[in-house]
């Protein structure tokens, strides 16, 4: 389930990045690549597990859904830290100056 949710987050982040492109003031390109990197890795993991061990390709249960939510929240959290540190709008700098 977390694979599908991360892929969906990647699709949405990429669409929003494209609307604003080529400008990338808020580093949506970074967020998109974060989601796509994880999606690719989990896709490989799921395919290899399915080929070698069989069973269900996707885990669809509450735990897997909560993990999907946690993954998206964590990615957004990392992105926001990068955004605040870089402060492209200068908001933090202005706030600190008072």
């Amino acid at each position: 389930m977390w694979l599908i949710m991360t892929a969906l987050a990647g699709v949405i982040a990429t669409a929003i990045w494209y609307v604003k492109a080529p400008e990338d003031k808020y580093k949506l390109g970074l967020l998109s690549l974060f989601f796509w990197g994880a999606t690719l890795m989990w896709l490989v993991d799921h395919v290899m597990a399915y080929v070698t061990e069989g069973g269900e390709f996707l885990e669809i249960n509450l735990d897997a859904t909560l993990l999907g939510v946690a993954v998206i929240v964590f990615a957004l959290f990392v992105w926001e830290i990068v955004l605040v540190v870089n402060d492209p709008k200068g908001a933090l700098r202005k706030a600190l100056r008072g």
Binding site: W2, T6, G29, L30, L33, F34, F35, W36, G37, A38, L40, M41, W42, L43, V44, D45, M48, A49, L67, A70, V71, F74, A75, V78
Partner: protein, 133 residues
């Protein structure tokens, strides 16, 4: 178990390479005019973002499943000698496959971006000529 350590290892190497390339480009930048398309530091930054993003989110998944813990030896598979072999096998198969897939997709992204940049170049030259520049 610890498959994400392979892409993480690659990410560490490519991050160092990107920093070195970036410094070289800055030095050369003043002497030469910028060529069309992406610079190598830009290309490598895409790969680093894919690898670090994937590594971070997979690390969270491993914490969630209790395969990674915040105390030594950090990987629960390391606590039992019988689990070390399967862990290394998983890293050699799934981990390497992850790193190869991400790098291959990145290669395709770069190829497409370069082809697009080259295709756009004659149009830019044409508009410059028409503009009388």
């Amino acid at each position: 178990m610890a498959c994400f350590l392979v892409p993480m290892g690659e990410a560490i190497v490519t991050t160092v390479v990107q920093k070195v390339v970036e410094n070289k480009e800055k030095k050369v930048g003043g002497e030469r005019t910028k060529k069309v398309g992406l610079s190598w530091s830009q290309r490598l930054s895409w790969l680093n973002k894919l690898l670090w993003g994937g590594t971070a989110l997979l690390a969270l998944e491993h914490v969630w499943h209790g395969e990674v813990v915040p105390w030594p030896p950090f990987l629960t598979a390391m606590e039992n000698p019988a689990d070390v072999g399967p862990m290394l096998r998983e890293m050699a198969t799934i981990g390497v496959a992850m790193a190869i897939t991400v790098t291959a997709i990145w290669g395709i992204m770069i190829l497409v971006a370069e082809l697009k940049a080259k295709a756009a170049m004659p149009k830019v030259k044409e508009s410059l000529v028409r503009g009388g520049v």
